[in-house]
């Protein structure tokens, strides 16, 4: 038994190492060597020494400040929205849940363009309306600013955090809250002292993931920060790689490793915060989710959700939808009305081929990622096996490296594989990269779900004669199924949007949708990108609807 377990752990470790350590090792080499792999050069610390230059310190400060601001604000908003949807009698909660998560799935470049049109200080629609209404000379908003960067990032991090938190709220046994109320605590005190405290594994995981995503965010700072002379780590890395006559891989990878070290400290901090404490809220005892009756206040909570939807979805997406029927984005003249963009996308052989590849990779990648993530989370969180921490850390690694740098690691890694491993240039290379990139989220989602399950459920199953696999399947997987579904959707759409690795690993015939969208964008066809973006949103609605229907059916049969 021990030998089989050791063998299985070793295999898991090897797989994760191939997906994360191998490309990282390539990048580490790049950060310590004056040239990329395969070129003559020398080992030195020039890249790391440059980190302490004043410019770079300022860049790091900007990065941490922006990411922290957006994560704190998004977290507060996401907790509020998740509580409203999962634990109150706010009208239309099912629909609101789908609508609130929509912004996460819209390509950031599209919403950035839409917000550029809505909130630019000269001719932005919001500012024009403001000056017309008030006669003010100064604009109301300027999206090309620090606040603009934070606001645009929040549109992605709030639904991302919401997706993490909402199921944890739903899966919580209200007995503890009821006990608190019976002991005389107020609703507010119960919310902060019991509800939020029990959510600590989920909220800290989600906070860290979101904070790290903020550090790695590219579209918002490049679009709204660059014109305001705000530089962050990703825009600096992009500059070092793409804007020099000789790409500065050493400096770029060193900067990425510095960011990674910072983020790793955060992860260690989380381990220490949560270590040794129990957060189980799903036990063998039956319970029914407690819904708070808000009375007339429920219309206020309804209003909060609708306002969020209007601001983050209706406004920018309305602009996209409208623009998709005009010859040019933002020019709403009658003589420019057209259906050409829909026709062009429909008739494009490349789009259909990319869609086929993306669907295949998304379905396979999301499923493989969630299976891998479920296993890693189980080993790391539900066992006392030696090496479990290492397995957890290996799965985390890809999340700590900015995508555009990790993409280079995959390129170097897959290209340098021996001839008998012909992955390079195939769909398999893309699949492996996607699994590596999505695994950290899968592990976090499943870890948080497992953390809420009491150990007595497993023990009970084993005592009654179920095997280890039966227990895993019938107890853990069955109870963590809603989280699995959420993770699957996150992984699927993460794969659908992934560009950094895709652009370096695709080859003629294996294009994916994100690459085709980049080509269209660079080719001056934002209207056609909008059409694909809208199609993706329809897909999201279908997936989310199916997911919620299935979760409800599953919960009702538990």
């Amino acid at each position: 038994m021990l030998a089989r377990r050791t063998l299985a752990l070793a295999a898991l470790g090897l797989l994760l190492s191939f997906l994360s350590v191998y490309p990282m090792a390539m990048l580490l080499y790049g950060s310590l060597h004056s040239t990329p792999p395969g070129m003559a050069g020398e080992f030195n610390l020039a890249g790391y020494r440059a980190l302490f230059e004043r410019d770079n310190l300022q860049v790091m400060w900007n990065t941490v400040g922006i990411s922290l601001a957006k994560t704190v604000l998004s977290m507060a908003l996401a907790v509020l929205l998740a509580w409203i949807v999962a634990r109150t009698d706010t009208p239309g909660r099912g629909t609101l849940e789908v609508l609130i998560t929509l912004p996460f799935f819209i390509p950031p470049i599209l919403t950035a363009t839409a917000w550029g049109m809505l909130g630019n200080p000269q001719v932005g629609s919001i500012n024009l309306a403001w000056t017309w209404l008030t006669g003010a000379e100064k604009p109301l908003v300027n999206v090309f600013s620090w606040g603009g960067v934070v606001w645009h990032m929040m549109q992605y991090s709030t639904p991302f955090l919401f997706l993490f938190i909402v199921d944890a709220f739903r899966a919580m046994d209200p007995a503890l809250e009821e006990s608190s109320r019976m002991a005389g605590a107020s609703r507010t005190r119960t919310f902060f002292g019991i509800t939020l405290a029990l959510m600590l594994p989920v909220t800290t995981s989600a906070f860290i993931l979101s904070f790290i995503r903020g550090i790695e965010s590219f579209e918002s700072p490049v679009f709204f920060g660059t014109p305001a002379k705000i530089e962050v780590m990703t825009t600096k890395i992009y500059h070092l790689i793409h804007h020099q006559s000789q790409p500065q891989y050493q400096a770029a990878t060193a900067l990425a490793f510095a960011a990674m070290a910072l983020m790793f400290l955060l992860v260690v901090w989380q381990w220490r915060v949560l270590g040794g404490r129990s957060f189980s809220t799903v036990t063998g005892k039956g319970y029914s989710p407690n819904v708070m009756r808000l009375g007339r206040l429920r219309w206020l909570t309804f209003g909060i959700c609708v306002t969020f939807f209007l601001l983050t979805v209706a406004l920018p997406v309305g602009q996209l939808l409208l623009s998709s029927f005009f010859q040019f984005f933002g020019f709403y003249q009658r003589d420019m009305l057209t259906l050409d963009h829909y026709r062009n996308v429909w008739a494009s052989r490349e789009v259909w081929r990319a869609l086929g590849n993306t669907m295949l990779l998304g379905l396979m990648g999301a499923t493989a990622t969630m299976v891998l993530g479920g296993i890693v989370a189980y080993v790391a969180g539900r066992t006392r096996w030696r090496g479990r921490r290492l397995i957890d850390a290996l799965a985390w690694l890809p999340w700590l490296m900015p995508g555009m740098v990790l993409g280079i690691g995959f390129l170097w890694g897959f290209a340098m594989l021996p001839g008998w491993m012909p992955l390079y240039g195939t769909l398999w290379a893309l699949l492996l990269a996607y699994v590596a990139l999505a695994t950290p989220v899968a592990v976090r989602v499943m870890t948080s779900a497992y953390a809420q399950l009491s150990f007595d459920l497993e023990e009970c199953s084993r005592v009654h004669g179920a095997s280890w696999w039966q227990t895993l399947w019938r107890i853990l997987v069955a109870l963590a199924w809603p989280a699995f579904a959420v993770g699957w959707v996150l992984a699927f759409f993460g794969i659908m949007r992934e560009l950094s690795a895709s652009i370096l690993l695709y080859s003629a015939g294996t294009e994916v949708l994100s690459v085709v969208m980049l080509k269209m964008w660079s080719g001056g066809k934002p209207e056609e990108v909008s059409v694909i973006g809208l199609f993706m949103m329809v897909l999201v609605l279908v997936f989310r609807w199916l997911q919620l229907v299935l979760i409800r059916r599953r919960i009702s049969t538990l």
């Binding site: 004056s34 040239t35 990329p36 792999p37 395969g38 070129m39 003559a40 050069g41 363009t113 550029g116 049109m117 630019n120 000269q122 001719v123 490049v222 679009f223 660059t226 014109p227 002379k229 500059h239 790689i241 793409h242 804007h243 020099q244 006559s245 000789q246 790409p247 891989y249 010859q327 040019f328 984005f329 933002g330 020019f331 420019m336 280079i408 390129l411 170097w412 290209a415 340098m416 594989l417 001839g419 390079y424 240039g425 652009i503 370096l504 695709y506 080859s507 003629a508 015939g509 980049l518 080509k519 269209m520 964008w521 660079s522 080719g523 001056g524 066809k525 934002p526």
Partner: protein, 345 residues
């Protein structure tokens, strides 16, 4: 392991260029019709050709590829990536012994750096290269394929006809302070070409004064054109001429200042150990055919071949007939990028 220097020092670049030019003269002389027919037959036998291009999102190479497929029955595949990504990808593939691409299509500067890195092989002679315009010279490895040039984009609702800049120096007029949207002059691309050419034409003082105009930098080029069209800014610099031709119907004008248009030449070259070398050679020849060149000319690119501009559409011809101003030089590019960073902080 490849042991070539990564920095492509000036001597290496110049050496590679000189050797390629000498060999070109020899191979052109040795070309005969019978030999070329054998190349065409061998290309058909190879049956496919893969182009690696930095023209991300461009439809023109695809149109040229379609013509190639129709004419020769050879399957055309294309891989598009941004210039730096393409370069690193080719380098990694070749170091690892994976030779997947046949023809490389990129700006002359990147091509020169890659030539020094040994990423190409001699094409063996291209018959159409004999009809290149005198300004463009092919060598044993590189064949000039098309030229993209830059001017000014102005919003005609915000800039009255009499106010529009006529010279590049008119950008220094105080009325444009804080009102010029610009590609980043400190970064590789159109911005650095503009910086380089203006520096050589007017000296560093021009840039010191232009920096005082508080240019607003943005790198989202295709969206920036629209921002000017929507009236966010009256002027955008530097505007790529081929992109302007796609803005028909919007309230913008393309202005060629009296000093002319800065430009960048694009080159074609056969990648080292190309799996389909004959098809690669045939494709380069086909790219220089009049019908292929017309695809580019009608889109606003200067063709590199004789007898093409005269056949281009009247609208484009008027713009292509204006003079060109200057371009970048690979050996001074790093120094210019550093200078730009110092001036435009």
């Amino acid at each position: 392991m490849d042991t070539r220097s990564p920095r492509a020092p000036r001597r290496a670049v110049l050496g590679a260029i000189a050797a390629a030019t000498l060999a070109a003269a020899r191979s052109a002389a040795a070309q005969t019709d019978a030999e070329w027919l054998r190349v065409v037959a061998a290309a058909r036998k190879e049956g496919r050709m893969t182009l690696y291009t930095s023209g991300v999102g461009s439809t023109f190479h695809k149109d040229v590829g379609r013509l190639f497929e129709q004419k020769y029955g050879i399957r055309f595949e294309v891989l598009e990536a941004r210039a730096s990504e393409l370069r690193e990808r080719i380098r990694s593939e070749q170091v690892a012994g994976r030779f997947l691409g046949d023809v490389h299509h990129n700006g002359a500067t990147t091509t020169a750096l890659m030539l020094a890195d040994g990423n190409f092989q001699p094409h063996g002679g291209i018959p159409n290269a004999a009809r290149l315009l005198p300004a463009y010279v092919a060598d044993d490895v590189r064949v000039p394929s098309n030229v993209q040039s830059y001017g000014l984009l102005v919003n005609r609702n915000l800039v009255k006809p009499g106010e529009a800049p006529r010279s590049w120096k008119d950008l220094l007029d105080p009325r444009w302070k804080g009102r010029i949207l610009s590609d980043d002059l400190r970064a590789l691309g159109g911005g650095s070409v503009f910086f380089f050419v203006m520096h050589d034409a007017f000296g560093p003082d021009f840039h010191e004064r232009l920096a005082a105009q508080n240019l607003v930098f943005s790198r989202d080029i295709r969206n920036d054109e629209r921002r000017v069209a929507r009236g966010e800014f009256p002027i955008y610099i530097p505007q790529l001429l081929p992109y302007f031709t796609q803005l028909k119907g919007l309230p913008v004008d393309f202005i060629v200042p009296q000093e002319g248009r800065p430009y960048v030449r694009f080159d074609l070259a056969v990648l080292r150990n190309a799996p389909n070398p004959n098809a690669a050679r045939l494709f380069i020849h086909h790219f220089l055919d009049v019908e292929s060149q017309l695809v580019y000319a009608n889109a606003g690119f200067d063709p590199t071949m004789q007898g093409v501009v005269d056949r281009a559409s009247l609208e484009v011809r008027a713009l292509l007939d204006t003079k060109v101003m200057g371009t970048t030089v690979v050996e001074r590019q790093n120094a210019m990028l550093e200078l730009a960073k110092r001036i435009y902080k």
